[in-house]
Each structure stands twice: as structure tokens, then as C-alpha cells.
């Protein structure tokens, strides 16, 4: 530690830190544009010039290392003169169009110009003009002339997003920020560039010109999408959500959010929103009052319970539902004596049992300090954009990333070792890694692993894990949705134990941990798969669109169609109009109070940001009334906080221990093609599926049947051909595309999209023929 003096204040700071760091510590503000604490130092805006005693000229605080005994003046005559000079230069080419600029009111240049800018410009010549560039559906560059060349957006791409999509072309006064030949910025974190831009050069395309920043009220919330639980600020005008931006939380999302978190709000204002309760009578949908709809539901459930037994009632909820909703749903079900309730909709192997809630196994922030990773079955970047970002930072700091997966998607980070195999080969690969570790640790190989033949990839992965001091073994969404998920989890757990690694499940959705805590799992009842395989007479759907959210859409739709009563609680008028009997309009996350428990087990509650649209109501209130109508005891909650407290009081603990799963390595090599299924980032839940701008991006393209080039050749197919994909009795027509990052013997077909919603389970055999 060294001591430096800033504006007369003594500050102790680390050796190697900069004057800017020390000033931040001392609470002294130094004006700046290009400096950002999460990005590398560029020192190109020169706004942070300060006077350093004994230095002959002003120095940039962001790039000047602090030295012992240094005396810095940030507001001395020399410093202020330098800062004013820089400001005058910056304003020479900056259009003074603040009154019509989208950034007006929240612009760093505007704010600092008030402090350091002149009353009027001495520059009377022509200003430079920069032509707008087309860089995709999310970021607008129409007003590129406002750019002050700080290069924050460029550095963000290189350092945080992991792909350099924007760059600064040309030189000196011709320098311009652009993408390569107007190509779209595809990063799943791209929206952060809008926040980083200190002027109005990069603005949000969906938000532009819908509100001025001072008209917006800012309400805190929590992301309802992936398992991270990013902290959000929901900006509201006239009871309408106008945009969503991050709230800094170093322990969870740092200062970033993914594009899914940022732009999904468009789905809140979708035309498809359900705003009145509806009942189907004589095949016609009627809008009715809440009391009528709820009486109808209560009567229906009572009748089915009396005639067929309560066991014939089943409830399914998405893991994006709040803790309160999930808790009341299961309490209602158990109250009417059915335990058929589940939220693990895309899971297919439930034999792991549920002793506790599977979780990340560590704090989110601990990811950055890991030195070895084994990531099993994860479309990491698309499923967990910000966790991927943290792993990227760890790898940059020297960690090894090892991957076992069914697709070799580019993680935008160096991968030390990888084993890319068909889903049916994943258990075997993990067993190989375990065996290699056992041999390395000179322990005895158990009898059931004698036959496992350790390959090169597995042995390098084992070596990498064994050499680490702070390893992590992480199971991704695909691993948890895999038909042998319990095998994968059990072996991965043993690998973690042997290598002294943290062992974690990457939570698929906002409440993947919360669902367990709410007790929304069947216990002795039927799980999500069994409820469909043994069709029930009544289904309660909470936020669920069965053909898009379930592991096996074909089975789910068959079950819905045969049921006597389907109650769809949803924020949207969706496909349920074809098979449901009642539609209940419930509030999405911005219109209800609630709680998400993120993948590290952090309980994060939020309040509603706006009033529910039309007659929509928070689902916890709907369930409470339903509980009262059905005379279930203990349903007199006044507030969602009371529901939460009761839920958390009875909640299970976080627990990743897996016991009693016998190893079963089957090396049957079937010749049939196997399905690999990803849930693309913008198809993952009901809200994001209705976010317009996101639906126009490359990640939301209509799914293709993707195969390795060799497989295409074998089948005599060309990319672009239309094929009939048959899975059991189900089939759909899709275009074929070539993807050499897939292993042989697989076809990758996305779920969550109408084009593939008629297919069967996410895994298993299928066949292709030219249509």
C-alpha cells in the first residue's frame, strides 16, 4: 500500500493502482468519458487531466500510476484549465442537439459540459458529419456524429462480450465507430454498449424517442429470465414500461445485463396480452368477470375431484413464476389432496430425487476466482450470458475451461480441452474423466467402471482438473434436461469430490432454485413427465405454454387436448385458446410483487413497477382467492410478503448431494440420428418470445435442422434443402443447415418455437428424409 494526497485528502491505495482509483477511494470525482472501471484503460478522451505536483504538465488520472507521496490536484487552476480545454475540443465536432437527443438528461457529456464547457463556442467552421451505420435491431447509430471516440463500446466487445464486433475505422478526424461492412452486432450482451456510451451516439432502437429520461420513474426489479437474477431498474411512464436498465450489484450482475433482460420488456406491451378472464362455452370464448371465472374453475375442480379423484388434477408452472406463485400453487394442490405439481418442465429424468434445491454450489462472484472449470452440457453463452462472461474473465486470468457437450458452440474464450459427443455418449465421457481421475489419485477403480476405456480428451480434462486449486464442475441446462440427467449429475458430483471442486447446477430460469424452496415438486405425486404420460382430467397451467415450454411438446399437447378441463393462467392469449376451458389473465413480473431465488440461493424480492394491464391480476392473488373458494385452510394472506415468509419458513435447503445412483454406462451404438436440443435464448420463456426487437435478431431465426457436413453428405442433402423430420409419430418440415461444430450422428433442432413444437422429446432418435 502507498499513500497519496488528492486535493489535500490523504488516501491509502494499492501499489500499481492509478490516480483515478485513488480518487474514487477518496470520494473525489474526476471528470472522465473513456475511463470505465470494468474496461481496460484507453486514456484517449483526456477529460481526466489533473495536476500532479512536480510534473511539468497535466496528466490523465486514469492512466497515471499512483506513486508514494504523490500530490494530486484535481481542481487546481492548471487542472481545470486543462479539463476545459479538452471539453472545448470535444465539443468542436459534437452536434449541440441535446434538445432532440435521446441521451439528453442522462448524458455524461451534457453533464460535464455544464461544469466545464464554455457558454458559447469559439468554433464557427463546419462540423464533421458521420454517416449512420446499420448494426442490427437493438442498437441505433443514426446519430453517429455525436460520437466522441471514447472506444468504450469497442473495448466492451473485446473484453467483456468476448467478440470484437465494433471497431474504430479510419484515422484522426475521419475516425468512425463501425461494424464490419454494416454487419449486425450479435453479442447477447450488446445492449450494455448503449449504457456505456457517454453520449447519444449509441441509443436503444426499441426505446428511442418514446420518453425523456426525466419523465421516467425508476423502479427496482429482478430479471425473470435466466437463473442469475440480474438486478434491474424498470423505467415507467404513464403506467407503461418504457425500458429496462441494469442496477449495479457486484455480487450478481456487476453493472451488466443481458439483451434478454434488457429488451424483453417489449413483450409486456405485446398485443397478445390477455386482459380479461375468459371462459369457453359452446366452443366460443366469452369475456367474463373474475368471480364468474374463478367460481367456474373451483366448481370444475370440485367436480373432477369428486368424480375421478383429486389425483386426476395436475398443476404445471414455469420456473419463471415467482416464489409466491409457486408456493401457493402447490399449497392449493396439496390442499385439495393432489400432489401432482411440478415446475421442472424441460426435465425428463427425475430419479435424482429432491432432497434439497440443486444450486450453483458457490456464490456467483466466486466463479471469477476459479482456476479450472468442467462445464457439462451447457449452451453457456446463450443460456447464461453473464455467467459465461464471468467464466470468460476467469479464463482470461489463467483458468482452464474444459467442456463436455453435444455441440461445440463458440464460447468466445479459449477452451483447454473438450469432448464433443452425441447426447448418448455423455455419460460415458464423464465416466472416463472420473476413471482417469481415480487412476491419477491412485485409488481403486470400482468394479462397475472396469470396462470404461479412457480416451485422450477425458484424460486431459482429468489432468487439468487434478492440477487446479480452485476448480468448479458445472452442469448446464442440457445436462439437466438429458434423459440420463441423474447419471450425469452423479458422476459429475464424484468428479467434483475427487478433484476438490465446487459442484453446481446452472439454474435454467429465474426460480429454478425457488421452485424447490416453494415445494412446487410432487414428492409422492406425479412429476412433470408422469402427469403427461398418464393423462389427467384437469390441468392448471401457470404461465405454461405446453408446446413451447415442455420437454415433450407432442405428449404435452395430447394430454391437454384429452383433458376435461384446462385452466390456463397466463399473461398472454396463446395457443391455449384451442384446448383450454378457462383463461385467467395474470400479471407478468413488472405488474406483481414477488420473489426470485437465483442460482446461488439469493432471495431477491421485488415490487410491482406498474399496475396490472386491464383486468389482469397478480397470480398469487388469483391463487389465494381460488384457495378460499375451495375452502383450503391457511389461504388468508394479506400480502405477497406474508406468502414469501411462510414459503421460506418451510423451504428446503440448498443441496447438491447426490446419493444412491448406481453407475450405468451403456455403450450401445445405435446407427440412428440423435436429437440435440437447445432452447434458443429468445425462445426460452413466454415474455421474451413476444419481444419484437429480440425476435428480429439472428438468435431468433426460425429453427433449422442442423447437421455436420459429413452427415449431410451421407444423407445426400444440401444446406437449404427442406426435410421432413420424424420423431416417433410426430413430424415437422424444416430447412437443413450445415454446422460442423456438431458431433457426428446428431441433428440439432431448437425447442421453444412453433416450427418445432409438434415434435417429441428434446432427446432421442429421429429420422430425416427429403420433403
Amino acid at each position: 500500500m502507498i499513500n497519496i494526497e488528492i486535493d489535500g485528502k490523504l488516501v491509502e491505495t494499492e501499489r500499481g493502482s492509478t490516480v483515478m482509483d485513488a480518487a474514487n477511494k477518496a470520494g473525489v470525482h474526476i471528470p472522465h468519458f473513456c475511463y470505465h472501471k470494468k474496461l481496460s484503460i484507453a486514456a484517449n478522451c483526456r477529460m481526466c487531466l489533473v495536476e500532479v505536483e512536480k510534473a511539468p504538465k497535466p496528466l490523465p488520472a486514469c492512466a497515471t500510476p499512483a506513486t508514494d507521496g504523490m500530490k494530486v490536484h484535481t481542481h487546481s487552476e492548471m487542472a481545470v484549465k486543462a479539463q476545459k480545454g479538452v471539453m472545448e475540443f470535444l465539443l468542436i465536432n459534437h452536434p449541440l442537439d441535446c434538445p432532440i437527443c435521446d441521451q439528453g438528461g442522462e448524458c455524461q457529456l451534457q453533464d460535464l459540459a455544464v461544469g466545464y464547457g464554455g457558454g458559447e463556442s469559439r468554433y464557427t467552421e463546419e462540423k464533421r458529419m458521420v454517416n449512420p451505420k446499420e448494426i442490427g435491431e437493438l442498437i441505433s447509430t443514426i446519430e453517429m456524429s455525436r460520437c466522441i471516440q471514447c472506444t468504450r463500446c469497442v473495448r466492451f466487445g473485446q473484453e467483456i462480450a468476448g467478440q470484437m464486433e465494433l471497431g474504430m475505422a479510419n484515422r484522426s478526424e475521419h475516425a468512425e465507430i463501425m461494424s464490419f461492412v454494416n454487419s449486425a452486432v450479435d453479442s447477447e450482451l450488446s445492449g450494455n454498449m448503449i449504457d456505456l456510451c457517454p453520449v447519444g451516439a449509441l441509443t436503444s432502437k426499441p426505446f428511442r424517442y418514446t420518453a425523456r429520461s426525466w419523465e421516467l420513474s425508476r423502479r427496482k426489479s429482478v430479471s425473470p429470465h435466466d437463473g442469475l437474477g440480474s438486478n434491474l431498474a424498470v423505467h415507467v411512464k404513464d403506467n407503461k414500461v418504457c425500458r429496462v436498465v441494469p442496477v449495479e450489484n457486484e455480487a450478481i450482475n456487476e453493472c451488466w445485463i443481458s439483451d434478454k433482460d434488457r429488451f424483453s420488456y417489449e413483450g409486456l406491451n405485446s398485443q397478445e396480452r390477455l386482459t380479461r378472464p375468459m371462459i369457453k362455452q359452446d366452443n366460443k370464448w366469452l369475456e367474463v368477470e373474475w368471480t364468474t371465472a374463478l367460481e367456474y374453475v373451483a366448481n370444475g375442480l370440485r367436480q373432477i375431484s369428486a368424480s375421478a379423484g383429486a389425483d386426476h388434477i395436475a398443476a404445471l408452472a414455469t420456473p419463471n413464476s415467482t416464489l409466491e406463485e409457486l408456493y401457493l400453487l402447490q399449497k392449493l394442490m396439496r390442499g385439495i389432496e393432489s400432489s401432482n405439481v411440478d415446475f421442472r418442465l424441460r426435465q425428463s429424468d427425475f430419479s435424482i430425487g429432491a432432497k434439497g434445491a440443486p444450486w450453483l454450489g458457490m456464490q456467483v462472484a466466486e466463479i471469477n476466482s476459479r482456476d479450472r472449470f468442467l462445464i457439462v452440457g451447457s449452451f453457456l453463452r446463450k443460456d447464461h450470458p453473464l455467467l459465461a462472461q464471468r467464466i470468460r474473465q476467469a479464463v482470461k486470468a489463467g483458468a482452464d475451461a474444459n467442456v463436455v457437450h453435444a455441440a461445440d458452440d463458440d464460447l468466445l474464450m479459449p477452451v483447454a480441452n473438450k469432448a464433443i459427443v452425441a447426447p448418448s455418449g455423455m455419460v460415458d465421457v464423464l465416466a472416463q474423466i472420473l476413471k482417469a481421475l481415480i487412476i491419477q489419485k491412485e485409488a481403486t477403480v470400482p468394479a462397475d467402471m472396469e470396462k470404461v476405456a479412457v480416451g485422450d480428451a477425458a484424460s486431459s480434462i482429468a489432468k487439468s482438473l487434478a492440477s487446479g486449486a480452485r476448480s468448479a464442475v458445472l452442469l448446464g441446462n442440457l445436462a439437466q434436461q438429458h434423459p440420463e440427467a441423474s447419471q450425469l449429475a452423479s458422476i459429475a458430483g464424484q468428479i467434483a469430490e475427487l478433484s476438490g471442486a465446487k459442484f453446481g447446477f446452472l439454474g435454467e430460469a429465474a426460480n429454478s432454485v425457488g421452485g424447490y424452496m416453494a415445494g412446487a415438486v410432487p414428492g409422492d405425486g406425479m412429476n412433470a413427465r408422469e402427469m403427461l404420460a398418464n393423462p389427467r382430467k384437469a390441468y392448471l397451467l401457470l404461465n405454461v405454454e405446453p408446446e413451447l415450454d415442455m420437454h415433450n411438446p407432442e405428449l404435452a399437447m395430447a394430454a391437454m387436448k384429452q383433458a376435461d378441463m384446462v385452466v390456463a393462467m397466463s399473461a398472454y392469449k396463446h395457443h391455449a385458446t384451442e384446448y383450454a376451458d378457462v383463461l385467467l389473465p395474470i400479471a407478468p413480473y413488472t405488474e406483481t410483487s414477488g420473489t426470485f431465488v437465483n442460482t446461488e440461493g439469493s432471495v431477491q424480492s421485488f415490487k410491482g413497477a406498474v399496475k396490472p394491464l386491464g383486468d389482469a391480476r397478480p397470480a398469487w392473488k388469483v391463487l389465494r382467492v381460488l384457495g378460499n373458494l375451495l375452502h383450503v385452510a391457511g389461504f388468508n394472506f394479506e400480502t405477497s410478503e406474508a406468502v414469501r415468509d411462510e414459503a421460506l419458513g418451510a423451504a428446503c435447503k440448498l443441496n447438491n448431494r447426490i446419493e444412491g445412483i448406481a453407475l450405468k454406462v451403456n455403450s450401445t451404438n445405435s446407427a440412428a440420428l440423435q436429437r440435440v436440443t437447445d432452447v434458443p435464448i429468445y425462445f426460452a420463456d413466454a415474455l421474451v418470445r413476444r419481444a419484437n426487437a429480440l425476435q428480429k435478431t439472428g438468435d431468433a431465426a426460425i429453427p433449422c435442422a442442423r447437421l455436420h457436413g459429413d452427415e449431410l453428405q451421407k444423407l445426400g442433402l444440401q444446406p437449404g434443402d427442406t426435410v421432413r423430420v420424424a420423431q416417433g409419430n410426430a413430424s415437422v418440415q424444416l430447412k437443413v443447415s450445415r454446422d460442423d461444430r456438431l458431433p457426428p450422428g446428431v441433428v440439432r433442432i431448437a425447442a421453444g418455437h412453433p416450427a418445432t413444437a409438434a415434435l417429441g422429446p428434446m432427446f432421442g432418435e429421429l429420422s430425416l428424409e427429403r420433403a
Partner: protein, 159 residues
Amino acid sequence: MLSAPIQDQINRELKKYPADQKQSAVMSALRFVQDEKGWISTDDMSDIASYLGMPKIAVMEVATFYHMYNLKPMGKHTITVCTNLSCTLCGAEDTVAYLKARLGIGLGEVTADGKYGLKEGECMGACKDAPLFTINNKKLCGRLTHEKIDQILAELDKS
């Protein structure tokens, strides 16, 4: 696709740098392409990017930074006149005007027969010979006078 000779040249260049820093060869790669084709298209930048395993936009940044790279087809003989301070003080403006008149084209243009191109350049580090220009970035001609320019053009006319 980069042609086989260009790939050979790049591979030779790559031996100078550590295996994980292939992008160090980007300037040479751009030069090889220009030497072969006379200019560098965005497709060429894209090819170089994938060959060197670097972002396309990073190649573009380099290609657009240096004035020696032609980003559109130029003449068989491209004359680049330095117009920085030393040359301007020694009469570069007159050099440009004379060349414009002789060739009948403006800066950044090519003669109709494709033989000559004229460009403005930055300091070439040979101020003692100001005013000066280069021919195809390879040959430096200094202490220019109208007579000397006529002489140089007469020689180029022959080739």
C-alpha cells in the same frame, strides 16, 4: 479465398511471431494482397481475418488507418504525394496541381485507361527530399520539379 502465393507469403511471415500472436502479421498480409491485386476489398479483409484468427473489424481498422492501403482499385501506377507540413512548405501544393493537370484526374481518382492513380499521403519520413511522392508505395521520388515529374511520367508511360 486468399491465393496460394499469398498464403505462402503469410505463412513465411508468421514464423516471425509467436504462434498465439498470428495477428501480428496483419499488415504484411494486407500488403501481400495489395501487391497481387492492386487493392484490398472487404472480402479480402474478411479472408485475412479468418486466416489469422482475428476479428474482421480489427483487420478493417488497420486497413483503413494507413494511407498506403488502397481500399478501391487504383491505377497501375499509383502516385501518392505527401502533403504534410515539410512538403507543403517546399511546394507540395504545386506538385499536386501539376500532377492533376498532367494526368487529368483529381486526388483519389484513376485515369480512364487505368494506368495512373493519384493519392494524397502522409509524411514518408524523407523530408530532406521534399516535395516528394511515391509510386505504388515502393519507389520514392524526391526534390520534385515539373521537369522531373515529366521525366518520371515519360518513363512510366513506356512501361
